[in-house]
Amino acid sequence: STSTSEGAPLLTINHDVAADLDSSNAFEGPEKLLEVWFAPSPSALPAGANENGLLCVPSKTWEEMLQLVHCQVLSVVSSEHMDAYLLSE
């Protein structure tokens, strides 16, 4: 993990996945793009939801979901308001 300054986004690399990734069979660039909102804004989370909303979900849990999609996590940039996952496909 590396971070440049206090509070700045933090990069974590999953070296196991990143080390031997081969893209020789890639052929379809156009992506499928899904956005699912559970509240109108971060400041309007519904009662009962964790105060950090989806940010409370551990990476491992997302990785299990991503297995259904056929993707793996290469690296993550974590910040106060968002986590950005770079994926293998």
Binding site: T4, S5, G7, A8, P9, A18, L21, D22, S23, S24, A26, F27, E28, G29, P30, E31, K32, L33, L34, E35, V36, W37, F38, A39, P40, S41, P42, S43, A44, L45, P46, A47, G48, A49, N50, G53, L54, L55, C56, V57, W62, E64, L66, L68, V69, C71, L74, S75, V76, V77, S79, E80, H81, M82, A84, Y85, L86, L87, S88, E89
Partner: protein, 385 residues
Amino acid sequence: SSMFVFPHKLILKTCGTTTLLLGLRRLLRIAAVDAGFPFHNVPELKDENAMASPYRVFYSRKNFLFPDKQRGPHRSWNDEVKFLDNLFDGGSAYLVGKMNGDHWYLYITTPDTEITPPRTPNSEKESSSPTRPAKIPTGLMSSFPQIHTGEDYQDETLEILMTDLDVENAKQFYLSHASAVAREKIPALDETVDVFNNGTGPDGLQAPMTDIEQLTTEGHALGTVVSDACGLSEVYPSSKYPDARIDAYLFSPCGFSANAVIPAPVHADAEVNDDVKKTAGVAHYFTVHVTPEPNCSFASFETNVPGGQNGRETSEIVEHVVGIFKPGRFIITLFEAKGTGEFRNPDPFGLRKNRTEAIAGYKRVDRIVHQFEDYDLVFGFFERE
């Protein structure tokens, strides 16, 4: 492929033959079980079908280059719509652009006073209580005071989908090319290596060759080299976005992906205007994915950094990105929440002015505007002059 997790929403973008929609039920379940978002499709959370009710859903994609190779629900747009309609009530599906050319599909649900609950799988329909829940408790309602207006939340997503990339220019997204660029960048180390190679380094120790190998072959190291060399790092320059962080990866033998987290600029109160206020405390992103092979070349760029922030208009961003990838043709979509009731960015790429050269070097072929209940969509299709 990329995924962005916010407190209130998740964005998942995957290419190739990934089966993105097969992850959707699990996503909704995680939102209910792990994050505590309300669910309405079953009486109890311990029911394995419990899934959070989304406030709203967007699903979109360009037409595939090789649709026959897709799997699962992605074999056709109709299959995808059926899959989503099975899960949500009241979704709307659109095709935007030429049916016999490059076009773009969109599926959208609208927020309503009853959060659109997902349905349980048909097989359970008979056995469980009605899938259509009773009205959500008013308490819950009160926690969504802004459900209709989105007043306090500015949302704008720009996507640029580029095909037929310039072949020569696309070489910079090949590992062999990037390694050469990386090697040029670390000449000093190179000499050190020579010394170490013959075992007579300054302190007589053998330098770990892997350092150099890593710097010139490891996906993330090369990803950073390519981000800088191709100009991507300057789309939102560190001079204006000091806390921005780019995570880039160069695939082997070729291909490139990058995410950037761009914390919203924080201004001294005196300078804050309404727009900035709306973005304070919100993180923005951009994401880029490149498939450089000539027979299927493609590059995508997506960002939710509001156009005009820090002085960079949407059209400038588009010109910068198109300048990096030099596509033969490209689609632009700009999706903008109508929170203020005004179409904030009426003419993001000079489309309305009928200027054939809205983007330098390209001719605008199509311009299509869709106005949804609370979002406006501007779609543009351009071809190289």
